[in-house]
Protein backbone atom coordinates (compact mmCIF):
# COMPACT_ATOMS: atom_id res chain seq x y z
CA UNK A 1 0.00 0.00 0.00
CA UNK A 2 1.53 3.26 -1.05
CA UNK A 3 0.98 6.50 0.78
CA UNK A 4 -2.17 8.41 0.08
CA UNK A 5 -2.29 10.49 -3.05
CA UNK A 6 -3.32 14.07 -2.48
CA UNK A 7 -4.16 16.54 -5.18
CA UNK A 8 -1.07 18.54 -4.45
CA UNK A 9 1.07 15.42 -4.40
CA UNK A 10 -0.31 14.32 -7.73
CA UNK A 11 0.44 17.61 -9.42
CA UNK A 12 3.85 17.85 -7.84
CA UNK A 13 5.05 14.36 -8.59
CA UNK A 14 3.03 12.72 -11.29
CA UNK A 15 1.28 15.22 -13.48
CA UNK A 16 4.31 16.02 -15.59
CA UNK A 17 4.89 12.36 -16.38
CA UNK A 18 1.22 11.80 -17.06
CA UNK A 19 0.87 14.72 -19.45
CA UNK A 20 4.18 13.84 -21.10
CA UNK A 21 2.81 10.39 -21.87
CA UNK A 22 -0.31 11.92 -23.36
CA UNK A 23 1.64 14.33 -25.51
CA UNK A 24 3.99 11.63 -26.69
CA UNK A 25 0.88 9.80 -27.86
CA UNK A 26 -0.47 12.94 -29.55
CA UNK A 27 2.74 13.53 -31.44
CA UNK A 28 3.20 9.87 -32.40
CA UNK A 29 -0.28 9.72 -33.82
CA UNK A 30 -0.18 13.15 -35.47
CA UNK A 31 3.12 12.48 -37.19
CA UNK A 32 1.97 9.03 -38.30
CA UNK A 33 -1.06 10.63 -39.94
CA UNK A 34 1.16 13.15 -41.70
CA UNK A 35 3.43 10.39 -42.93
CA UNK A 36 0.40 8.43 -44.12
CA UNK A 37 -0.49 11.40 -46.31
CA UNK A 38 2.95 11.76 -47.82
CA UNK A 39 3.94 8.09 -48.15
CA UNK A 40 1.49 5.19 -48.46
CA UNK A 41 -1.32 7.29 -49.87
CA UNK A 42 0.81 9.74 -51.79
CA UNK A 43 -0.56 8.77 -55.17
CA UNK A 44 -4.22 8.67 -54.25
CA UNK A 45 -6.20 11.89 -54.76
CA UNK A 46 -6.87 13.66 -51.48
CA UNK A 47 -10.61 13.45 -51.96
CA UNK A 48 -10.41 9.65 -51.93
CA UNK A 49 -8.00 9.00 -49.13
CA UNK A 50 -7.94 12.10 -46.92
CA UNK A 51 -11.19 11.56 -45.09
CA UNK A 52 -10.36 7.95 -44.24
CA UNK A 53 -6.88 8.78 -42.97
CA UNK A 54 -8.27 11.50 -40.74
CA UNK A 55 -11.13 9.31 -39.51
CA UNK A 56 -8.68 6.58 -38.54
CA UNK A 57 -6.62 9.21 -36.77
CA UNK A 58 -9.69 10.47 -34.92
CA UNK A 59 -10.67 6.96 -33.80
CA UNK A 60 -7.15 6.32 -32.54
CA UNK A 61 -7.23 9.68 -30.75
CA UNK A 62 -10.36 8.65 -28.93
CA UNK A 63 -8.70 5.36 -28.02
CA UNK A 64 -5.79 7.28 -26.52
CA UNK A 65 -8.21 9.45 -24.58
CA UNK A 66 -10.14 6.42 -23.38
CA UNK A 67 -6.99 4.63 -22.28
CA UNK A 68 -5.69 7.62 -20.37
CA UNK A 69 -9.03 8.29 -18.71
CA UNK A 70 -9.24 4.66 -17.62
CA UNK A 71 -5.74 4.80 -16.17
CA UNK A 72 -6.69 7.99 -14.39
CA UNK A 73 -9.77 6.32 -13.00
CA UNK A 74 -7.69 3.54 -11.53
CA UNK A 75 -7.77 0.76 -14.09
CA UNK A 76 -4.09 0.27 -14.94
CA UNK A 77 -4.63 -2.64 -17.32
CA UNK A 78 -5.82 -0.12 -19.92
CA UNK A 79 -2.23 1.01 -20.21
CA UNK A 80 -1.85 -1.88 -22.63
CA UNK A 81 -4.14 -0.04 -25.01
CA UNK A 82 -1.74 2.91 -24.94
CA UNK A 83 1.20 0.60 -25.47
CA UNK A 84 -0.68 -0.89 -28.39
CA UNK A 85 -1.17 2.55 -29.95
CA UNK A 86 2.52 3.40 -29.54
CA UNK A 87 3.63 0.11 -31.05
CA UNK A 88 1.15 0.45 -33.89
CA UNK A 89 2.45 3.95 -34.67
CA UNK A 90 6.02 2.70 -34.58
CA UNK A 91 5.31 -0.23 -36.87
CA UNK A 92 3.33 1.99 -39.19
CA UNK A 93 6.08 4.59 -39.44
CA UNK A 94 9.12 2.32 -39.74
CA UNK A 95 8.60 1.08 -43.32
CA UNK A 96 7.82 4.55 -44.68
CA UNK A 97 11.56 5.05 -45.04
CA UNK A 98 11.33 3.47 -48.50
CA UNK A 99 9.28 6.48 -49.64
CA UNK A 100 12.07 8.80 -48.52
CA UNK A 101 9.87 11.14 -46.48
CA UNK A 102 10.96 14.39 -44.88
CA UNK A 103 13.87 13.41 -42.62
CA UNK A 104 12.88 15.54 -39.64
CA UNK A 105 9.31 14.31 -39.63
CA UNK A 106 10.39 10.70 -39.98
CA UNK A 107 12.88 11.01 -37.14
CA UNK A 108 10.32 12.60 -34.83
CA UNK A 109 7.70 10.05 -35.81
CA UNK A 110 10.06 7.32 -34.66
CA UNK A 111 11.20 9.20 -31.59
CA UNK A 112 7.84 9.97 -30.02
CA UNK A 113 6.43 6.41 -29.77
CA UNK A 114 9.67 5.28 -28.18
CA UNK A 115 9.59 8.23 -25.78
CA UNK A 116 5.99 7.41 -24.98
CA UNK A 117 6.82 3.81 -24.16
CA UNK A 118 9.65 5.07 -21.98
CA UNK A 119 7.29 7.41 -20.11
CA UNK A 120 4.72 4.67 -19.58
CA UNK A 121 7.43 2.41 -18.21
CA UNK A 122 8.91 5.05 -15.91
CA UNK A 123 8.84 4.58 -12.16
CA UNK A 124 6.77 7.73 -11.71
CA UNK A 125 3.99 6.49 -13.96
CA UNK A 126 3.96 3.03 -12.40
CA UNK A 127 3.77 4.63 -8.99
CA UNK A 128 0.95 6.88 -10.14
CA UNK A 129 -1.04 3.98 -11.53
CA UNK A 130 -0.69 2.11 -8.25
CA UNK A 131 -1.90 5.08 -6.27
CA UNK A 132 -4.81 5.64 -8.61
CA UNK A 133 -5.95 2.06 -7.96
CA UNK A 134 -6.02 2.90 -4.26
CA UNK A 135 -8.16 5.90 -5.02
CA UNK A 136 -10.56 3.79 -7.00
CA UNK A 137 -10.85 1.38 -4.11
CA UNK A 138 -11.62 4.22 -1.73
CA UNK A 139 -14.20 5.48 -4.13
CA UNK A 140 -15.87 2.11 -4.43
CA UNK A 141 -15.92 1.61 -0.66
CA UNK A 142 -17.48 5.01 -0.30
CA UNK A 143 -20.08 4.30 -2.91
CA UNK A 144 -20.96 0.97 -1.33
CA UNK A 145 -21.32 2.65 2.03
CA UNK A 146 -23.58 5.28 0.55
CA UNK A 147 -25.70 2.64 -1.17
CA UNK A 148 -26.08 0.70 2.06
CA UNK A 149 -27.13 3.76 3.96
CA UNK A 150 -29.83 4.43 1.43
CA UNK A 151 -31.33 0.95 1.60
Amino acid sequence: MSEELTLRGFFREHFLGFIAGIFAAYFSLGLSVVLAFVTYFRHLPLADSGLYILLTGAVLTLLIVHGNLMVLWGRPQWVWLLIGVFVACLLFVLPTIVYDPHRGLYGLALLFPLLGLLFLNSRGQRDMRRKLVDIRQQRETLRRALAQRRT
Binding site: L5, T6, G30, V33, V34, T61, V65, W73, L105
Partner: protein, 306 residues
Protein backbone atom coordinates in the same frame (compact mmCIF):
# COMPACT_ATOMS: atom_id res chain seq x y z
CA UNK B 1 -19.82 67.15 -30.53
CA UNK B 2 -19.42 70.58 -32.01
CA UNK B 3 -15.73 70.49 -32.75
CA UNK B 4 -15.34 68.55 -35.94
CA UNK B 5 -11.52 68.32 -35.86
CA UNK B 6 -11.11 70.41 -38.96
CA UNK B 7 -8.65 69.55 -41.60
CA UNK B 8 -7.78 65.95 -40.91
CA UNK B 9 -11.00 64.33 -41.95
CA UNK B 10 -11.62 62.73 -38.60
CA UNK B 11 -14.99 64.35 -38.12
CA UNK B 12 -18.22 62.81 -39.21
CA UNK B 13 -16.90 61.68 -42.54
CA UNK B 14 -19.36 60.30 -45.07
CA UNK B 15 -18.38 56.73 -44.32
CA UNK B 16 -18.83 57.29 -40.61
CA UNK B 17 -22.19 58.85 -41.21
CA UNK B 18 -23.24 56.00 -43.44
CA UNK B 19 -21.99 53.46 -40.94
CA UNK B 20 -24.14 55.00 -38.25
CA UNK B 21 -27.11 54.96 -40.55
CA UNK B 22 -26.51 51.35 -41.46
CA UNK B 23 -26.03 50.20 -37.90
CA UNK B 24 -29.07 52.02 -36.67
CA UNK B 25 -31.16 50.45 -39.38
CA UNK B 26 -29.76 46.98 -38.84
CA UNK B 27 -29.80 46.74 -35.11
CA UNK B 28 -32.68 47.18 -32.78
CA UNK B 29 -31.00 49.71 -30.55
CA UNK B 30 -33.61 50.05 -27.77
CA UNK B 31 -33.63 46.29 -27.38
CA UNK B 32 -29.85 46.22 -27.28
CA UNK B 33 -29.70 48.91 -24.61
CA UNK B 34 -32.44 47.18 -22.63
CA UNK B 35 -30.45 43.94 -22.70
CA UNK B 36 -27.39 45.71 -21.40
CA UNK B 37 -29.23 47.58 -18.68
CA UNK B 38 -30.87 44.37 -17.51
CA UNK B 39 -27.51 43.25 -16.15
CA UNK B 40 -26.81 45.02 -12.87
CA UNK B 41 -23.06 44.78 -13.43
CA UNK B 42 -23.12 46.86 -16.56
CA UNK B 43 -26.12 49.16 -16.25
CA UNK B 44 -25.50 52.29 -18.22
CA UNK B 45 -22.39 50.99 -19.95
CA UNK B 46 -21.44 52.84 -23.08
CA UNK B 47 -21.93 51.06 -26.41
CA UNK B 48 -19.41 51.39 -29.18
CA UNK B 49 -19.64 49.74 -32.55
CA UNK B 50 -16.64 49.21 -34.80
CA UNK B 51 -17.52 48.17 -38.29
CA UNK B 52 -15.46 46.51 -41.00
CA UNK B 53 -14.01 49.74 -42.26
CA UNK B 54 -12.96 50.64 -38.75
CA UNK B 55 -15.56 53.33 -38.42
CA UNK B 56 -15.97 53.76 -34.71
CA UNK B 57 -19.52 54.69 -33.88
CA UNK B 58 -20.52 55.49 -30.35
CA UNK B 59 -24.09 54.32 -30.05
CA UNK B 60 -24.44 55.41 -26.46
CA UNK B 61 -22.26 57.26 -23.99
CA UNK B 62 -21.38 55.80 -20.63
CA UNK B 63 -23.53 56.83 -17.71
CA UNK B 64 -22.07 56.39 -14.23
CA UNK B 65 -24.77 54.16 -12.80
CA UNK B 66 -23.03 50.84 -12.23
CA UNK B 67 -19.66 52.31 -11.42
CA UNK B 68 -17.74 55.52 -11.51
CA UNK B 69 -15.14 54.22 -13.88
CA UNK B 70 -16.30 54.16 -17.46
CA UNK B 71 -17.37 50.81 -18.87
CA UNK B 72 -18.02 50.22 -22.50
CA UNK B 73 -19.44 47.41 -24.51
CA UNK B 74 -17.54 47.10 -27.75
CA UNK B 75 -19.23 45.44 -30.66
CA UNK B 76 -16.66 44.76 -33.26
CA UNK B 77 -17.68 43.63 -36.66
CA UNK B 78 -15.25 41.41 -38.44
CA UNK B 79 -15.68 40.64 -42.05
CA UNK B 80 -13.68 39.59 -44.96
CA UNK B 81 -12.30 42.90 -45.98
CA UNK B 82 -11.37 42.24 -49.56
CA UNK B 83 -12.97 40.75 -52.62
CA UNK B 84 -12.93 36.96 -52.89
CA UNK B 85 -10.80 36.91 -56.03
CA UNK B 86 -8.30 39.25 -54.50
CA UNK B 87 -8.28 37.12 -51.40
CA UNK B 88 -7.60 33.97 -53.39
CA UNK B 89 -4.74 35.71 -55.15
CA UNK B 90 -3.33 36.87 -51.89
CA UNK B 91 -3.51 33.38 -50.43
CA UNK B 92 -1.71 31.95 -53.42
CA UNK B 93 1.05 34.50 -53.28
CA UNK B 94 1.34 34.27 -49.55
CA UNK B 95 4.63 32.72 -48.58
CA UNK B 96 3.98 29.40 -46.90
CA UNK B 97 6.48 30.09 -44.15
CA UNK B 98 4.15 32.48 -42.40
CA UNK B 99 1.41 29.87 -42.60
CA UNK B 100 3.70 27.35 -41.00
CA UNK B 101 4.24 29.70 -38.10
CA UNK B 102 0.53 30.25 -37.91
CA UNK B 103 -0.19 26.53 -37.78
CA UNK B 104 2.46 26.05 -35.15
CA UNK B 105 1.01 28.83 -33.00
CA UNK B 106 -2.46 27.38 -33.42
CA UNK B 107 -1.19 23.97 -32.43
CA UNK B 108 0.40 25.38 -29.33
CA UNK B 109 -2.84 27.05 -28.38
CA UNK B 110 -4.94 23.93 -28.93
CA UNK B 111 -2.48 21.77 -27.06
CA UNK B 112 -2.49 24.23 -24.18
CA UNK B 113 -6.22 23.66 -24.16
CA UNK B 114 -5.62 19.93 -23.97
CA UNK B 115 -3.33 20.39 -20.98
CA UNK B 116 -6.03 22.41 -19.28
CA UNK B 117 -8.60 19.72 -19.96
CA UNK B 118 -6.44 16.98 -18.53
CA UNK B 119 -5.60 19.12 -15.51
CA UNK B 120 -9.26 19.64 -14.74
CA UNK B 121 -10.12 15.99 -15.30
CA UNK B 122 -7.20 14.73 -13.24
CA UNK B 123 -7.98 16.98 -10.30
CA UNK B 124 -11.62 15.97 -10.53
CA UNK B 125 -10.88 12.27 -10.46
CA UNK B 126 -8.41 12.52 -7.59
CA UNK B 127 -10.81 14.55 -5.50
CA UNK B 128 -13.57 12.07 -6.15
CA UNK B 129 -13.18 9.98 -2.99
CA UNK B 130 -14.05 13.03 -0.97
CA UNK B 131 -16.90 14.18 -3.13
CA UNK B 132 -18.48 10.74 -3.61
CA UNK B 133 -18.56 8.64 -6.71
CA UNK B 134 -17.94 9.43 -10.33
CA UNK B 135 -21.38 10.05 -11.65
CA UNK B 136 -22.43 9.76 -15.25
CA UNK B 137 -22.12 13.51 -15.65
CA UNK B 138 -18.46 13.55 -14.64
CA UNK B 139 -17.72 10.73 -17.03
CA UNK B 140 -19.53 12.38 -19.92
CA UNK B 141 -17.90 15.75 -19.37
CA UNK B 142 -14.49 14.17 -19.03
CA UNK B 143 -14.89 12.30 -22.29
CA UNK B 144 -16.16 15.35 -24.13
CA UNK B 145 -13.49 17.69 -22.85
CA UNK B 146 -10.58 15.32 -23.21
CA UNK B 147 -11.80 13.97 -26.53
CA UNK B 148 -12.42 17.34 -28.14
CA UNK B 149 -9.25 18.99 -26.93
CA UNK B 150 -7.16 15.96 -27.88
CA UNK B 151 -8.64 15.92 -31.34
CA UNK B 152 -7.89 19.62 -31.71
CA UNK B 153 -4.34 19.20 -30.54
CA UNK B 154 -3.66 16.30 -32.87
CA UNK B 155 -5.39 18.17 -35.66
CA UNK B 156 -2.95 21.00 -35.05
CA UNK B 157 0.02 18.67 -35.10
CA UNK B 158 -1.16 17.06 -38.32
CA UNK B 159 -1.72 20.43 -39.97
CA UNK B 160 1.69 21.67 -38.93
CA UNK B 161 3.28 18.51 -40.27
CA UNK B 162 1.34 18.72 -43.50
CA UNK B 163 2.34 22.35 -43.90
CA UNK B 164 5.93 21.10 -43.95
CA UNK B 165 5.48 18.00 -46.06
CA UNK B 166 2.39 18.52 -48.18
CA UNK B 167 0.87 22.02 -47.98
CA UNK B 168 -1.79 21.35 -50.59
CA UNK B 169 -3.41 18.88 -48.19
CA UNK B 170 -4.12 21.75 -45.80
CA UNK B 171 -5.70 23.77 -48.58
CA UNK B 172 -7.85 20.80 -49.41
CA UNK B 173 -8.91 20.39 -45.78
CA UNK B 174 -9.86 24.05 -45.55
CA UNK B 175 -12.04 23.70 -48.59
CA UNK B 176 -14.02 20.77 -47.23
CA UNK B 177 -17.28 21.58 -45.47
CA UNK B 178 -17.20 18.53 -43.20
CA UNK B 179 -13.80 19.56 -41.93
CA UNK B 180 -14.89 23.10 -41.15
CA UNK B 181 -17.99 21.89 -39.37
CA UNK B 182 -15.98 19.40 -37.37
CA UNK B 183 -13.55 22.12 -36.33
CA UNK B 184 -16.34 24.39 -35.15
CA UNK B 185 -17.95 21.52 -33.29
CA UNK B 186 -14.69 20.70 -31.58
CA UNK B 187 -14.23 24.32 -30.59
CA UNK B 188 -17.60 24.34 -28.93
CA UNK B 189 -17.07 20.99 -27.26
CA UNK B 190 -13.70 21.85 -25.84
CA UNK B 191 -15.01 25.17 -24.57
CA UNK B 192 -17.69 23.24 -22.80
CA UNK B 193 -15.06 21.21 -21.06
CA UNK B 194 -12.78 23.89 -19.81
CA UNK B 195 -14.16 27.07 -18.42
CA UNK B 196 -10.82 28.77 -18.28
CA UNK B 197 -10.32 32.07 -19.99
CA UNK B 198 -7.42 30.85 -22.10
CA UNK B 199 -9.64 28.94 -24.46
CA UNK B 200 -11.94 31.89 -24.88
CA UNK B 201 -9.01 33.89 -26.08
CA UNK B 202 -7.98 31.16 -28.46
CA UNK B 203 -11.45 31.12 -29.85
CA UNK B 204 -11.60 34.86 -30.26
CA UNK B 205 -8.30 34.96 -32.05
CA UNK B 206 -9.39 32.12 -34.29
CA UNK B 207 -12.62 33.83 -35.22
CA UNK B 208 -10.91 37.11 -35.82
CA UNK B 209 -8.29 35.40 -37.92
CA UNK B 210 -10.74 33.34 -39.89
CA UNK B 211 -13.12 36.12 -40.71
CA UNK B 212 -10.71 38.93 -41.43
CA UNK B 213 -8.31 36.79 -43.39
CA UNK B 214 -5.55 38.43 -41.42
CA UNK B 215 -2.68 36.50 -39.99
CA UNK B 216 -2.61 35.76 -36.31
CA UNK B 217 0.06 38.34 -35.70
CA UNK B 218 -1.90 41.05 -37.42
CA UNK B 219 -4.96 40.23 -35.40
CA UNK B 220 -3.00 40.42 -32.20
CA UNK B 221 -1.21 43.58 -33.25
CA UNK B 222 -4.45 45.28 -34.20
CA UNK B 223 -5.33 45.74 -30.55
CA UNK B 224 -3.67 48.05 -28.11
CA UNK B 225 -1.80 46.73 -25.12
CA UNK B 226 -4.56 47.59 -22.73
CA UNK B 227 -7.14 46.09 -24.99
CA UNK B 228 -5.14 42.90 -25.29
CA UNK B 229 -4.87 42.56 -21.56
CA UNK B 230 -8.57 43.03 -21.14
CA UNK B 231 -9.53 41.04 -24.15
CA UNK B 232 -7.97 37.85 -22.87
CA UNK B 233 -10.34 38.01 -19.97
CA UNK B 234 -13.31 39.89 -21.17
CA UNK B 235 -14.10 39.04 -24.71
CA UNK B 236 -16.62 36.31 -24.85
CA UNK B 237 -17.22 34.02 -27.66
CA UNK B 238 -20.88 33.78 -28.32
CA UNK B 239 -21.16 30.60 -30.27
CA UNK B 240 -22.65 28.45 -27.59
CA UNK B 241 -24.90 30.11 -25.03
CA UNK B 242 -25.74 26.70 -23.58
CA UNK B 243 -22.24 26.52 -22.21
CA UNK B 244 -22.94 28.21 -18.90
CA UNK B 245 -24.69 25.56 -16.80
CA UNK B 246 -22.37 22.83 -17.97
CA UNK B 247 -19.35 24.95 -17.23
CA UNK B 248 -20.67 25.68 -13.80
CA UNK B 249 -21.17 22.01 -13.19
CA UNK B 250 -17.64 21.30 -14.21
CA UNK B 251 -16.33 24.03 -11.95
CA UNK B 252 -18.23 22.56 -9.05
CA UNK B 253 -16.98 19.08 -9.86
CA UNK B 254 -13.41 20.15 -10.15
CA UNK B 255 -13.87 21.93 -6.87
CA UNK B 256 -11.13 24.44 -7.27
CA UNK B 257 -11.11 26.04 -10.65
CA UNK B 258 -9.47 29.38 -10.09
CA UNK B 259 -11.84 32.24 -10.56
CA UNK B 260 -9.71 34.57 -12.48
CA UNK B 261 -12.39 36.93 -13.59
CA UNK B 262 -11.88 39.60 -11.00
CA UNK B 263 -13.19 42.50 -13.01
CA UNK B 264 -16.65 42.71 -14.39
CA UNK B 265 -17.49 40.30 -17.06
CA UNK B 266 -20.28 39.93 -19.49
CA UNK B 267 -22.60 37.25 -18.36
CA UNK B 268 -23.65 34.79 -20.94
CA UNK B 269 -27.25 35.61 -20.43
CA UNK B 270 -26.54 39.19 -21.30
CA UNK B 271 -24.53 38.20 -24.30
CA UNK B 272 -27.34 36.03 -25.52
CA UNK B 273 -29.70 38.93 -25.22
CA UNK B 274 -27.32 41.26 -26.97
CA UNK B 275 -27.03 38.68 -29.67
CA UNK B 276 -30.77 38.50 -30.05
CA UNK B 277 -31.04 42.23 -30.36
CA UNK B 278 -28.35 42.29 -33.01
CA UNK B 279 -30.89 40.55 -35.09
CA UNK B 280 -31.00 37.89 -37.69
CA UNK B 281 -29.14 40.04 -40.19
CA UNK B 282 -25.87 39.16 -38.57
CA UNK B 283 -24.59 35.66 -38.08
CA UNK B 284 -22.59 35.17 -34.96
CA UNK B 285 -20.37 32.27 -35.82
CA UNK B 286 -17.22 32.45 -37.78
CA UNK B 287 -16.02 29.93 -40.28
CA UNK B 288 -12.83 30.11 -42.21
CA UNK B 289 -13.63 30.22 -45.87
CA UNK B 290 -17.38 30.07 -46.24
CA UNK B 291 -17.22 33.79 -46.83
CA UNK B 292 -20.65 35.12 -46.15
CA UNK B 293 -20.69 35.04 -42.40
CA UNK B 294 -20.23 38.18 -40.40
CA UNK B 295 -18.86 38.01 -36.96
CA UNK B 296 -19.31 40.39 -34.15
CA UNK B 297 -17.09 40.20 -31.16
CA UNK B 298 -18.62 41.45 -27.97
CA UNK B 299 -16.33 42.75 -25.32
CA UNK B 300 -16.58 44.73 -22.15
CA UNK B 301 -13.94 47.32 -21.57
CA UNK B 302 -13.34 49.03 -18.33
CA UNK B 303 -10.82 51.72 -17.61
CA UNK B 304 -8.59 50.72 -14.77
CA UNK B 305 -5.86 52.32 -12.78
CA UNK B 306 -2.36 51.55 -13.83
Amino acid sequence: MSNPLPGIGMDSSPSQFLARQRIESQINLPQLFAAIDADPGIVGAGVVYIDTDFNVVTLREFQPICSIQPKRIILREAQKYIAPTQFAQQVQNNPRESRLVMEAVNTTLSCAGAVLSWTVIASGSILVPFTAGASGVVVAIAYTAAGASSLQCINGIVRTGLEIAKPEANDWLDSEAWYQNASIGLDAASLLGVGASALTTIKLVRIAKATTGKTLREVLRGLSRQERAKLTKELLSINDPRMTPKMLKLKQLAGELPKRYTTTQLKHGTVTQIKDSLGAAIGLTGSALSGNVKTIAVGLYEEFDE
